[in-house]
Symmetry: C2
């Protein structure tokens, strides 16, 4: 069948909601359903049923022969085994054979990986990384995820779990991560959660007046820090400078690993724009060997955030072997 | 032509000596010449001539039709361009088109990469990584080099310079590197040079008596530290414990990048055996997410050090397309 007549289903599973849609080869989403509340389904089989019922009308309309397969992005999704393994923010425990369950229910081949890897494939297929063979996607949201492409292929590693750059240590002996208990990992600083913690710490350790003082400390989140920084608040700006420094140092390490053409940043934290980008770029360049300096493009994702998860997941389908 | 009748020339260019030999498909070196003193040749063309003259008798004996090509490992060797670029410890300045010069002189295809990448290909072809598709080789010598294999292929990056893990920052704001001026890079601690510096620092900052005190500080090298540690010297043992901690933390970061099946350590520093291996393994495991723990094999290279450089370089030839 010609590529132009083919469609892919993209499913993005998050702790809160699951998004899904049908996508053509150029990245146009033709059918998008309402989000499904992931964790209302105690049994994964019931969740798969709900997905199938929601997608069935669109599948019938397109014709199943025009569907090449189903791509799924999920936390702790393992590409090799098609399983979700011990995802801390999903209710299904242990190892869940999701790709198999979905394939059987839909009668279509399916491919599963974690959400950040799916984002990387999406950028390569439809987004800022089109035509690139070596790049890294860093997702900066509640957590920090990553997808690494080298030689034109995602790096999955020997067990399917490669690309956990959010958990690399960038401040040995530094801030303990609230969930992993690792000391000084990137996610502890460069996630939205980390930014809020930094703001609370800086506020507590400073005598300066700050717009942040208007909030109860536990209510401060990255959105508030951003708003205050935009109003010129010194401490809030310092929070972003510090966050950018740590992120930039981490990116320098990643560059010396795989020497990507570009690093593509994605997710809520990048809404801060230059506030985070300038110190990130400065400290990345500063920590690179000269042979790497001023070569790596540091860019924001071009995918619409609302669609990116579905696009990324669907893009896995075009990577499938026929 | 059948593989069994084919041979490859391996050339390893170092700042001091250049080693070379002819290797068969099983990694047996059939002809090995005397080392050439690299830096006695002011013009690279004269160096290539000397290599050709040294290898000519062996080439004639085997028959040029039985030679598939020439693999070259060299500092700052770029796989894509076949050039050596700004190698600090070679006398030839700027960008040297070495692969082209050698191909023309020998009338054989040639392939060039840096020495650590060559070591990784050597391990995959003849050594501890036989059959592996995802692994990392770390060379711990005067400097710290690395070669990263993912999905069965070396990661070269978009520009041919990937895999400079020795220059990743593991102690932000830490020890300044004597040559790169980066602060707190792995090489500043985990190389033989770094071990000697750590020993001098610990000796200076300690009141304990130490066998190291018998040496002039500037004469202390990693060999002396090793000998003293084996005699039970506390400070020398602490030097290895500290070095292993830093190396282990760095390895944890590398694992979370590419999730290799194994990390293969190679070079002079690993002669310290368990002195370095035990703390390295301990701190690697400690800094890994649970999904990565107790999975990565941390092993020493199985290649004889005297032959490894030639084998690694020659192995590039078997990677060439016919």
């Amino acid at each position: 069948m010609e590529r132009t007549q083919q469609f892919a289903i993209g499913i993005d599973i998050g702790g809160t909601g699951t998004k899904f849609g049908i996508v053509n080869h150029r990245g146009v989403i033709s059918h998008k359903g309402d989000d499904i509340a992931t964790n209302t389904f105690k049994k994964v089989e019931d969740f798969v049923d709900a997905l199938y019922i929601a997608l069935k009308p669109a599948i019938d309309q397109i014709g199943i022969n025009h569907l090449k397969g189903i791509g799924i992005g999920a936390p702790n999704g393992n590409y090799y085994s098609g399983t979700i393994e011990y995802a801390p923010n999903l209710h299904w425990r242990g190892i869940v054979p999701l790709a198999k369950l979905i394939s059987e229910r839909f009668g279509l081949p399916s491919s599963l990986t974690n959400d950040a890897n799916a984002a990387a494939v999406g950028e390569m297929m439809y987004g800022a990384a089109k035509g690139m063979k070596d790049f890294i996607v860093i997702t900066l949201g509640t957590g920090v995820g990553s997808g690494i492409v080298a030689n034109g292929h995602l790096i999955y590693g020997h067990d399917g779990f490669a690309g956990e750059l959010g958990h690399t240590i960038i401040r040995p002996g530094g801030r303990k991560h609230w969930s992993t208990s690792l000391d000084g990992s990137l996610e502890a600083y460069a996630s939205a959660t980390g930014i809020a913690i930094t703001a609370r710490e800086m506020l507590e350790n400073s005598d300066k007046s700050s717009l942040l003082s208007a909030y109860q400390p536990e209510k401060i989140n990255s959105k508030i820090v951003y708003d205050c920084a935009m109003k010129g608040d010194e401490i809030s700006k310092e929070v972003y400078r510090f966050t950018g420094q740590i992120l930039g140092e981490a990116l320098a390490n990643f560059v010396m690993f795989s020497s990507p053409e570009a690093i593509i940043l994605f997710g809520g934290v990048i809404k801060a724009g230059d506030l985070i980008m300038k110190p990130t770029k400065e400290h990345m360049e500063k920590n690179l060997l000269p042979i790497f300096q001023n070569k790596v493009k540091l860019i924001f994702s071009e995918l619409k955030e609302a669609d990116a998860a579905i696009l990324g997941a669907s893009a896995l389908v075009w990577e499938m072997r026929d």
